[in-house]
C-alpha cells in the first residue's frame, strides 16, 4: 500500500475549491483510499495499488472534482501531432514502449514533486519494481529530431554519459558503478534496450537516462518514454502520466512509433448492463441515476436502449469487467448510503469430521487434568532432527531465517522445549497439543502428550494413553521398540488396525540433561484422527 504525501495548497488549487479538512477526509474515504493525516500544509493518503491514476496529485484532484460534482464526465484531452518519429528495431528484452511529448511544462516545486511521486509509485506498483514498466523523462530540447529516434537492444559495451556523471561509460560500467545501475542490474542480462538519436544513446531503460537529456528548471518540453514487458500496463502508464500533466495545463503531443501515433487517449467503450447494479450491489437506481454516478466517476455514459454505453478514460487501467464499473457506481453512490440487509439463506451448520473427532479428543484429554499448549507448525530442521529421527520434512526454499525453515513433522520436540522453559513452574506438569504436522506429500494432525513430575514413569504415560484411547473407542496395540531418545526397555510403538500410528516412551536421561530438565518425562505422540 503506497503512502503519498500531497501538498494541500496544490491539491485544493487543482480541485478549484477550498475544501475544509473534514470534507477532504470525507471525499477521500469515499473512494478506496485511506486518509492518514491532514496537516495545515499536507494531506497524507494510503493508496490502493489498483488506482495508479490517483498517485499523481493531478489525478487525485480530477477524481475528487467528479465526486464533489464540480467537474463530471470524461475529460477530453487534446493531442496534437508532434511529427516526431520513433522506430523500434529488434527490442526483445522490453518489447513494448509508449512515447509522448509534453509541451509547456513549468517546473514548480509542486509539479516536480508530483512527477517524482508518480514515477516512484508507478515503478513500485504496476511497474513491479521496474521489471514490468519503467518511466523515463527527458528534456526534449536536448534530443536531436533530425532523424527518427531508434529504440533497440544493444550489447553492454555501448556507451552513454549517465545522469549525474561527466564522462562516457559503457553500460557494463554503469551497472557496476552508478547507484541506479547497481540497484537494477539484475534486470539486465547481456542486452539492454536503448533510445538512440543522431547524437547517440540518451537512455538505457529501465536503468537510467543520460546527463545530456537531464531535466532542469529551465525545461519547457518533455520527452516521456515508458518501456516494459506488458503492453497494456505500458500504454496505461503513459496515459496516466500525460493526462496528469495535461491537468496542469501542459500540452500533449503525439509521437509516431512505427507508424502508430502515441499516446492514444481514445476511450474504450464498454456496454454495461444496468441490471448488474441491483444484482451485485443491491441498490435500486434508475438508469439516469446510474449515468449520473458514472459521470461523477469521470466516465462518459449514455443510455442506449436497455443498456448503458460507457466510455472508459484511457488512464483507467483497472476496468477489466462490468463488475469493476458496478463497484465504481457504488463508490459514487457512497458506501455510507448503502444499508446492510440480512441474507435470508437457510443452511445448516456443521463442523468437519476431523474437527469433531479432534474436539472430542481434546475434551477427553483435558478432562484427565492436562493443560493444552499451542506451539508453531513452522520450526527449524535442527529442532526436528535433533533426536536421531530423520523425518521427511517439508523444507522451505525461501525461509526468512534458520529458525523457521521447515514445517514440523512431529510435535514432541516442541513439547520438550516447552518443558525446559518452565522449570520454575509448579510440578506436576502435564501438557498436550493436537495439531498439524507434515511430511513431503502428506499432512495430518498429531496428538502429543508430555508428563513430568518427580515420580513419573513410562507406565503413567501408558495408563493415560490407554485410557484416552478407550474413551475414544479406539483399540490399540503396543509393541516394544527402540529409539535413541527414549530409555531402552521403556519405549514402544503404537499400532491401530495393524498400522503404526505413533510412539510412547520415557525420555532418555541424556536428552533430559541436554535440555536441562531435572525430573523424568514420559511422552507419547500418535495420529489424532484415527478413523
Amino acid at each position: 500500500m503506497p503512502t503519498i504525501t500531497y501538498d494541500k495548497k496544490d491539491l485544493l488549487s487543482l480541485i478549484g475549491k477550498n475544501l475544509k479538512d473534514e470534507e477532504i477526509d470525507a471525499v477521500i474515504s469515499q473512494i478506496k483510499d485511506e486518509v492518514g493525516e491532514i496537516s495545515t500544509t499536507e494531506v497524507t493518503v494510503e493508496l490502493e495499488p489498483e488506482r495508479p491514476d490517483l498517485f499523481g496529485i493531478e489525478g487525485l484532484a480530477r477524481c475528487i472534482k467528479g465526486l464533489i460534482g464540480t467537474e463530471i464526465g470524461m475529460k477530453k484531452y487534446v493531442v496534437a501531432k508532434s511529427n516526431i518519429n520513433v522506430e523500434i528495431k529488434n527490442a526483445k528484452t522490453r518489447p513494448f514502449i509508449g512515447v509522448a511529448i509534453i509541451k509547456n511544462v513549468s517546473f514548480t516545486d509542486a509539479s516536480i514533486k508530483s512527477i517524482m511521486n508518480v514515477q516512484e509509485v508507478l515503478h513500485a506498483t504496476i511497474g513491479n519494481k521496474r521489471s514490468k514498466v519503467a518511466v523515463g523523462i527527458h528534456d526534449l530540447s536536448k534530443i536531436s529530431l533530425t532523424s527518427p529516434i531508434v529504440y533497440t537492444d544493444v550489447p553492454l559495451s555501448h556507451k552513454m554519459v549517465p545522469l549525474g556523471a561527466t564522462k562516457e561509460m559503457t553500460l557494463s560500467e554503469i551497472l557496476k558503478t552508478q547507484p541506479k545501475g547497481i540497484e537494477y542490474a539484475h534486470l539486465i542480462k547481456d542486452q539492454c534496450p536503448a533510445f538512440i538519436d543522431s547524437q547517440g544513446i540518451f537512455s538505457f531503460p529501465p536503468i537510467l537516462n543520460s546527463e545530456r537529456t537531464k531535466v532542469n528548471e529551465k525545461t519547457t518540453d518533455l520527452f516521456i518514454d515508458v518501456t516494459g514487458t506488458d503492453e497494456r500496463a505500458v500504454k496505461q502508464t503513459l496515459n496516466i502520466i500525460v493526462t496528469n500533466l495535461a491537468e496542469r495545463g501542459c500540452i500533449i503531443e503525439s509521437v509516431s512509433v512505427d507508424g502508430k501515433e502515441m499516446p492514444d487517449l481514445s476511450p474504450e467503450i464498454f456496454i454495461f448492463d444496468p441490471k448488474l447494479v441491483k444484482k451485485l450491489i443491491g441498490i435500486d437506481l434508475k438508469n439516469e441515476e446510474i449515468v449520473e454516478m458514472l459521470k461523477k466517476e469521470r466516465y462518459d455514459a449514455k443510455i442506449v436502449g436497455e443498456k448503458i454505453e460507457v466510455c472508459i478514460p484511457a488512464y483507467r487501467i483497472d476496468i477489466l469487467h462490468s463488475v469493476d464499473l458496478a463497484e465504481d457506481i457504488a463508490i459514487a453512490y457512497n458506501y455510507k448510503n448503502i444499508s446492510p440487509l440480512l441474507p435470508n439463506v437457510f443452511t445448516v451448520g456443521k463442523l468437519s469430521k476431523s474437527t469433531q473427532t479432534i474436539d472430542k479428543l481434546r475434551n477427553i484429554v483435558y478432562g484427565f487434568g492436562l493443560q493444552e499448549v499451542r506451539t508453531m507448525t513452522l520450526t527449524s530442521e535442527k529442532q526436528q532432527n535433533g533426536f536421531g529421527l530423520n523425518k521427511k520434512l517439508v523444507k522451505l526454499e525461501n525461509p526468512m531465517s534458520e529458525e523457521y525453515n521447515c514445517v514440523r513433522g512431529w510435535i514432541t520436540p516442541s513439547l520438550i522445549a516447552f518443558l525446559s522453559k518452565n522449570k520454575h513452574a509448579d510440578y506436576p506438569q502435564n501438557i498436550f497439543e493436537v495439531g498439524l504436522v507434515a511430511e513431503t506429500n502428506r499432512e495430518w494432525d498429531n496428538f502429543a502428550c508430555a508428563l513430568t513430575d518427580s515420580k513419573i514413569t513410562f507406565n503413567d504415560a501408558r495408563a493415560l494413553l490407554e485410557s484416552i484411547l478407550r474413551e475414544m473407542g479406539i483399540k490399540a496395540e503396543l509393541k516394544a521398540s527402540e529409539y535413541n531418545f527414549l530409555i531402552p526397555g521403556r519405549s514402544a510403538d503404537v499400532y491401530v488396525s495393524g498400522k503404526k500410528v505413533g510412539f510412547i516412551g520415557e525420555l532418555h536421561p541424556a536428552i533430559l540433561n541436554q535440555f536441562g530438565l531435572e525430573l523424568p518425562v514420559a511422552i507419547f505422540e500418535i495420529e489424532a484422527y484415527l478413523g
Binding site: I281, G282, H321, A330, S339, P343, T347, V365, I431, T440
Partner: protein, 489 residues
C-alpha cells in the same frame, strides 16, 4: 477406670514428660496436643478428681481495669468527689442524682461533709480531698493503663463496677504415682481414616488429627484448554449457529489454488519470494482437475467466457509450484470447485493456518490464523455481505460497524468492515467482497459468492488482553494455567 480420650491424651503427655524428667508440666505445654484451653482444664480436673494427676493453679498477680461505672467517673471523679467540688457550702438541691444517691453517703462516711438540714458544708478533710481529687486521678491512671497501687484500689473494688480485677494464674500439673501406673489404650492419633478403622469400628478408639486451617495446602491446577483455541471453538460455534459448514484444505498448497484460481496475475507483486513461502520438496503439485485448470488458463489469458479481458498471459509452471498457503481463500476456491448446482445454497467457513515471510516482531509472525467464509446462493449482493458482517459482529457484542470500499484481486466490489473498540477506536477487522466472475465461472459457479474474512489473531489479542502476537504461542505454563478463557457474548 473409664477415661475420656482427652484425659488419656493429657495423662499420656504427663507420662512422656515424666519419662524425660519433667514432672511439672505447664498448662500451655498441653496446647501442643491440639486441644483448646477449656478441654485441657476439664481433663485436668477430671484426672485430679480421680487422683491420677495433680492440677495446680496459683495466682501470680492481680491487675485492675476500669469497670463500666468507673468509666463514667473518669472526668468528674468519684460521686463523692464531684459532690465536694460544688464548693465549701451548698445545698442538697445543687446535687446531681448520682451525687445524691451515692456521693452523699460516701462523703459523709469519709468525714468530708457536715449536713445541717438541706445545707451541706465541707470539713477541713473535705476541703483537702477536694483539692487532691485522688480518686479521679486513680481512675484516669487506670484508663491510661498505668499502674495503680493495690491498696488504693481495694476500697473501690467492693463498690459496684468502678474497677474490675483480673487475676493472673499460673497453672501446672503433675502426674501422681497412681497416674503413672494406670494403663489405658490411647490408640494413635490417626492422620488418615482407613477402611479398616471404618469397618472394624476402630474409629471409636482413636483420635483423628485435627488440621490447622492456617497452614496452606498444595495448589492444584485444573486441566485446561488453551485460551486462544477455546476462543476459536466459541467462534466456530457462532458460525455453526449462522448455518456455516466447516471446509478444509491443505496448508501445503499448490500456487494454483492460492493465487491463479483467485485471478491473481502471474506477475502480481504479492507472488514473489518475499510474500510467499515456496516449498523445496515437492516443488510441483499435480493438476487434480484438468477442466478447472483449463478454464483458469483461458480466463487469465483472454478472459475466457467470463466477460473479462483477462490478463493477457499465464505462467502454468508458476501455477504448479507448491507453496505454504498464504491465504485461506485457497480453501474457498477448492471448495467452490467441488460444488454442484444442486448442492446450493451453501455457506462455508474455515479457521486455519496461513504462512507469509514476515520479520518476527510484536505484530508479525511468519505463521498465523485466518478465519474466512463464503455464502454461495442466488440473489445475494453487497448489502447482504454488509448485513452478514454487521450481524456477525453483533454476535460478539460489537455494535458499531462501518464499511469502506477496498481492493482485493479476487473480489469486486470489495469492502472492509471496521469495528469500534472502546480503547483502540475504529479497527480494520473484516475484509470481504463478492468474488469476481473470473474466479467463480472457471470453478463452475454461476451464482454470486459473498466472501468475508476475520482478522482472528488480532481480535483474539484484544479479547485475551495481550499486545504481542507471539503470546498466542506462549510457552509460559504459568500464564496458561492462570489464563481466564473469555466467554464471547
Amino acid at each position: 477406670m473409664e477415661l475420656h480420650q482427652h484425659e488419656k491424651l493429657i495423662l499420656d503427655f504427663l507420662k512422656q514428660m515424666k519419662a524425660k524428667n519433667k514432672l511439672k508440666v505447664n498448662f500451655d505445654d498441653f496446647l501442643e496436643l491440639g486441644l483448646n484451653r477449656d478441654a485441657i482444664s476439664r481433663a485436668l480436673i477430671l484426672l485430679s478428681e480421680k487422683g491420677l494427676a495433680k492440677y495446680f493453679r496459683e495466682q501470680t498477680s492481680k491487675s485492675y481495669i476500669l469497670g463500666k461505672e468507673g468509666e463514667k467517673y473518669v472526668d468528674s471523679g468519684l460521686p463523692e468527689e464531684s459532690l465536694i467540688s460544688h464548693g465549701t457550702s451548698f445545698t442538697i438541691n445543687d446535687l446531681s442524682e448520682i451525687e445524691k444517691k451515692i456521693g452523699l453517703q460516701w462523703a459523709k462516711r469519709k468525714g468530708w461533709i457536715k449536713i445541717d438540714g438541706a445545707n451541706i458544708m465541707l470539713t477541713e478533710n473535705g476541703k483537702t480531698a477536694a483539692k487532691n481529687m485522688s480518686g479521679k486521678k486513680m481512675l484516669q491512671k487506670l484508663q491510661n493503663k498505668q499502674q495503680v497501687g493495690e491498696k488504693e484500689l481495694l476500697e473501690l473494688e467492693g463498690r459496684g463496677d468502678i474497677v474490675k480485677s483480673i487475676i493472673n494464674y499460673t497453672e501446672w500439673a503433675e502426674i501422681t504415682p497412681a497416674g503413672e501406673k494406670t494403663s489405658y489404650s490411647l490408640g494413635e492419633e490417626v492422620n488418615v481414616l482407613t477402611k479398616d478403622l471404618i469397618v472394624g469400628g476402630g474409629w471409636k478408639n482413636i483420635t483423628i488429627r485435627p488440621y490447622n486451617l492456617s497452614f496452606p495446602v498444595e495448589k492444584k491446577f485444573p486441566g485446561k484448554l488453551h485460551p486462544y483455541l477455546s476462543l476459536l471453538d466459541q467462534t466456530k460455534d457462532k458460525l455453526l449457529a449462522l448455518g456455516f459448514e466447516e471446509m478444509t484444505g491443505p496448508a501445503i498448497e499448490m500456487n494454483f489454488w492460492n493465487c491463479d484460481a483467485l485471478f491473481m496475475p502471474s506477475d502480481h507483486p504479492a507472488r514473489g519470494i518475499h510474500d510467499v513461502f515456496y516449498v523445496w520438496e515437492p516443488k510441483e503439485g499435480n493438476i487434480e482437475n484438468e477442466v478447472v485448470w483449463e478454464k483458469v488458463r483461458k480466463t487469465h489469458e483472454t478472459g475466457g467466457d467470463t466477460g473479462s479481458r483477462g490478463w493477457g498471459k499465464w505462467d502454468p509452471k508458476l501455477a504448479k509450484r507448491m507453496i505454504l498457503r498464504s491465504q485461506t481463500t485457497a480453501v474457498s476456491a477448492r471448495t467452490l470447485s467441488k460444488l454442484k448446482k444442486e448442492d446450493l445454497p451453501r455457506k462455508f467457513f474455515t479457521i486455519d493456518h496461513v504462512y507469509r515471510p514476515d520479520v518476527v516482531d510484536a505484530r508479525h509472525l511468519p505463521e498465523f490464523l485466518q478465519c474466512e467464509g463464503i455464502v454461495v446462493a442466488e440473489d445475494v449482493n453487497l448489502r447482504h455481505l454488509m448485513g452478514f458482517m454487521k450481524f456477525f459482529a453483533e454476535s460478539f457484542g460489537i455494535k458499531d460497524v462501518k464499511f469502506q470500499p477496498a481492493f482485493f484481486p479476487f473480489t469486486e466490489p470489495s469492502i472492509v468492515g471496521y469495528i469500534k473498540h472502546p480503547k483502540l477506536g475504529w479497527i480494520e477487522a473484516m475484509p470481504g467482497g463478492i468474488f469476481r466472475p473470473e474466479v467463480t465461472k472457471p470453478l463452475g459457479i454461476d451464482v454470486p459468492v459473498l466472501a468475508w474474512g476475520l482478522g482472528i489473531d488480532r481480535l483474539a489479542m484484544v479479547a485475551l488482553g495481550i499486545d504481542d502476537i507471539r503470546m498466542l504461542f506462549s510457552d509460559n505454563l504459568q500464564w496458561l494455567r492462570e489464563s481466564n478463557i473469555p466467554l464471547l457474548q
